[in-house]
C-alpha cells in the first residue's frame, strides 16, 4: 500500500467518539487500543513473577461484594502480606475487582475505569451475579454476564464469597499471571468492536469517548 493509503486507513481507524458533544471531542484521545506483544520471553517471565507478587487493586466497590474487601485488607486476613494493596486510581492499579452485580449505571463506570487502567490488567469477578446475574438474573436494571463487557480473568463464586474464597481467587490469579495466561488487555483490544457493541447496546446514554484512555 502507498503511504498515503496507510494514513487514510489510520485515520479511519480512529474512534469517532460520537457520544460526546461536538465541542468536547477534541479534548479526548481517539486512538483505538492495540495489541501489545511481549518483548522478550525471559524478561516477560521475570516481570510476570513480579506482577504476581505485586497486585494493586483498584479501590472501587462496584457492588455489594465490595464489603468483603475491608476484612480482606485489615488485620484478620491481611492480604497485604501477599503483596495485594489498594490503589486509589485506575491509572496505577492492575487488578479490578467487580464486586458483585453491576447495574446499568455501574457498568458504564466499570467500563471507563477498566479502560483507564494501564495494562497488563486483570479482572476478578466476584459472586454469582457477575457470572449469570445471580439473584438479579431477571432484573431490568442489572446485567447478567460481566464478560460480555470486559474480559474477566478469574471468577470467584458465592453469594457473597467469603474473604477466604477471595484470597483463593487471588491465588488463582497469581498462578495465571505467573503462567502468562492473563492477557485480558490484549483480548479486549482484539475484540474491541465486539465489546464496544455490547457495551453500547446496554448503555443507552453513551456520553463517553469510545475508549477511555
Amino acid at each position: 500500500m502507498k503511504e498515503k493509503d496507510i494514513k487514510i486507513i489510520e485515520k479511519e481507524m480512529k474512534l469517532a467518539n460520537e457520544g460526546l458533544p461536538e465541542m468536547e471531542r477534541d479534548l479526548f484521545a481517539d486512538d483505538r487500543p492495540s495489541r501489545i506483544e511481549p518483548l522478550n520471553k525471559y524478561l516477560e517471565q521475570f516481570l510476570n513473577w513480579a506482577r504476581a507478587r505485586s497486585l494493586w487493586i483498584l479501590a472501587y466497590g462496584t457492588g455489594c461484594g465490595a464489603i468483603e474487601l475491608r476484612p480482606l485488607m485489615t488485620a484478620r486476613f491481611d492480604a497485604f502480606r501477599y503483596g495485594i494493596a489498594g490503589r486509589p486510581t485506575p491509572r496505577q492499579a492492575n487488578v479490578f475487582i467487580i464486586g458483585g452485580y453491576a447495574s446499568l449505571k455501574t457498568i458504564k463506570r466499570i467500563v471507563r475505569s477498566y479502560e483507564q487502567m494501564q495494562g497488563p490488567k486483570y479482572v476478578i469477578a466476584l459472586g454469582s451475579c457477575t457470572i449469570n446475574g445471580g439473584m438479579y438474573y431477571d432484573s431490568y436494571n442489572t446485567i447478567n454476564r460481566i464478560d460480555y463487557y470486559i474480559p474477566v480473568d478469574i471468577y470467584v463464586t458465592g453469594c457473597m464469597p467469603r474473604p477466604e474464597s477471595l484470597i483463593a481467587g487471588f491465588n488463582g490469579l497469581k498462578k495465571k499471571i505467573q503462567a502468562g495466561q492473563c492477557d485480558g488487555m490484549n483480548k479486549y483490544a482484539d475484540n474491541f468492536d465486539w465489546y464496544k457493541a455490547n457495551q453500547k447496546q446496554i448503555i443507552k446514554d453513551w456520553n463517553m469517548p469510545d475508549y477511555n484512555w
Binding site: I36, L47, A50, S54, G83, A85
Partner: protein
C-alpha cells in the same frame, strides 16, 4: 580520569542509597502492619512494586512536562543526595559535596519538587494542583523552623559546609549537635515530620481527601521512577539530618543505624496520630517549632 571514577563512585553511592531507602520503606510497612497486628508484606515488597510498575506495557502521557516531571523529581532526589557527603571520610560516599554547601542541598530539594509539581500539573487532574498547593504551603511553613535550625548550627560551627559540620561533631556522642544544640535539633526534627509527610502531616497524599494527590495521573514507569525517588529522597533527607544533627557516620552500618533511628521517629509518630487539616498543620509549624527555632538561634548567637 578522576571525574570518571567520581561518576562511578556516585553511581555506587546512589544505588546503595536507593536500595537502602527501598528496604527502609519495606520495614516501615512491616512496622505499620505490626502496629495494626498484621503480618505485613515482605520487606522487599517495594522492590517488587517498582519492578511491577516498570513492567507495565502501556503508559499514558499528558505531554512533555508530564513526561519530564518524574525525571525532574528523580534528578532532584539524586542531586540532593549527590551534593552531600554520606559517610564522613569515605571517598566513595563523599559524592559531589565539593560543589556546594548546605544551602545548595537545601535548595536542591526544591528542584525535584518543582519539577514534579509541573509534571503533575500538566496531568490536568484537579487533585494534582490541590495536593501540590497543600504541599508547597506546608513546605513553606516547615522550612521556617528548619532554616532556623540550620542557621543556628551555622552559627555554632561557623560554617555551612556539611563536611566541616560533620567533622566538628566527631569524637564522641556528646559532640553531636543533638547534645550541643538541642533546641535546633528539636526544631529540625519537628520539621522533619513535615518533610517526610507522614501523618499527621500527610497533607499531600491525603488518601481520603485527594487520593494520593499530585501523582494521581502517574502510571507505569513514571510511577516507578517516582517510587524509586521516594526511596532515594527519603534516605537523602535522613542522611542530611544525620550529618547535621547526629554526628554523621564514619561507615555504612552506622549510617544505616542512625538514619533508621531518625526515620523511626517520624514513622512512630505517623503511626500514632491522625492527620491534620491543612491550616492546622501550617499553624502548628508556625508556632511551637518556629519559636523553638528562634530560641535556638538566640541562644547560640547571643548567649
Amino acid at each position: 580520569m578522576d571525574i570518571f571514577i567520581k561518576i562511578i563512585y556516585a553511581a555506587i553511592s546512589i544505588l546503595v542509597a536507593t536500595l537502602y531507602g527501598l528496604i527502609l520503606i519495606g520495614i516501615v510497612h512491616k512496622i505499620y502492619a505490626r502496629v495494626h497486628r498484621r503480618i505485613g508484606p515482605p520487606v522487599w515488597q517495594p522492590i517488587l512494586d517498582i519492578i511491577q510498575t516498570h513492567g507495565r506495557k502501556v503508559a499514558t502521557s499528558h505531554g512533555i512536562m508530564f513526561f519530564l516531571g518524574p525525571v525532574f523529581r528523580m534528578a532532584g532526589g539524586m542531586g540532593t543526595y549527590l551534593f552531600m557527603p554520606v559517610i564522613f571520610g569515605s571517598v566513595v560516599f563523599s559524592n559531589y559535596s565539593m560543589a556546594g554547601d548546605l544551602l545548595l542541598v537545601m535548595y536542591f530539594i526544591f528542584f525535584g519538587q518543582l519539577g514534579m509539581a509541573l509534571g503533575a500539573g500538566e496531568g490536568g487532574h484537579p487533585y494534582s494542583p490541590l495536593g501540590i498547593a497543600r504541599g508547597l504551603s506546608q513546605m513553606s511553613t516547615f522550612e521556617l523552623p528548619f532554616s532556623l535550625a540550620v542557621i543556628s548550627i551555622a552559627i555554632q560551627y561557623q560554617t555551612l559546609n556539611i563536611t566541616t559540620i560533620v567533622a566538628a561533631q566527631q569524637g564522641g556522642m556528646l559532640n553531636w549537635t543533638l547534645f550541643t544544640n538541642p533546641l535546633a535539633v528539636i526544631a529540625a526534627m519537628i520539621s522533619l515530620l513535615g518533610m517526610n509527610m507522614h501523618s499527621p502531616f500527610s497533607l499531600v497524599l491525603a488518601p481520603q481527601e485527594i487520593p494520593i494527590g499530585p501523582p494521581i495521573e502517574m502510571n507505569g514507569s513514571f510511577l516507578g521512577i517516582l517510587q524509586t525517588n521516594r526511596a532515594l529522597f527519603a534516605s537523602a533527607k535522613l542522611v542530611l539530618f544525620m550529618n547535621l544533627f547526629f554526628g554523621g557516620a564514619t561507615n555504612l552500618p552506622i549510617m544505616m543505624l542512625k538514619t533508621f533511628s531518625i526515620y523511626m521517629f517520624s514513622v512512630f509518630i505517623g503511626a500514632a496520630f491522625p492527620r491534620f487539616r491543612p491550616e492546622q498543620s501550617f499553624r502548628f509549624f508556625l508556632r511551637i517549632p518556629t519559636l523553638i527555632g528562634i530560641l535556638s538561634v538566640i541562644v547560640i548567637a547571643y548567649l
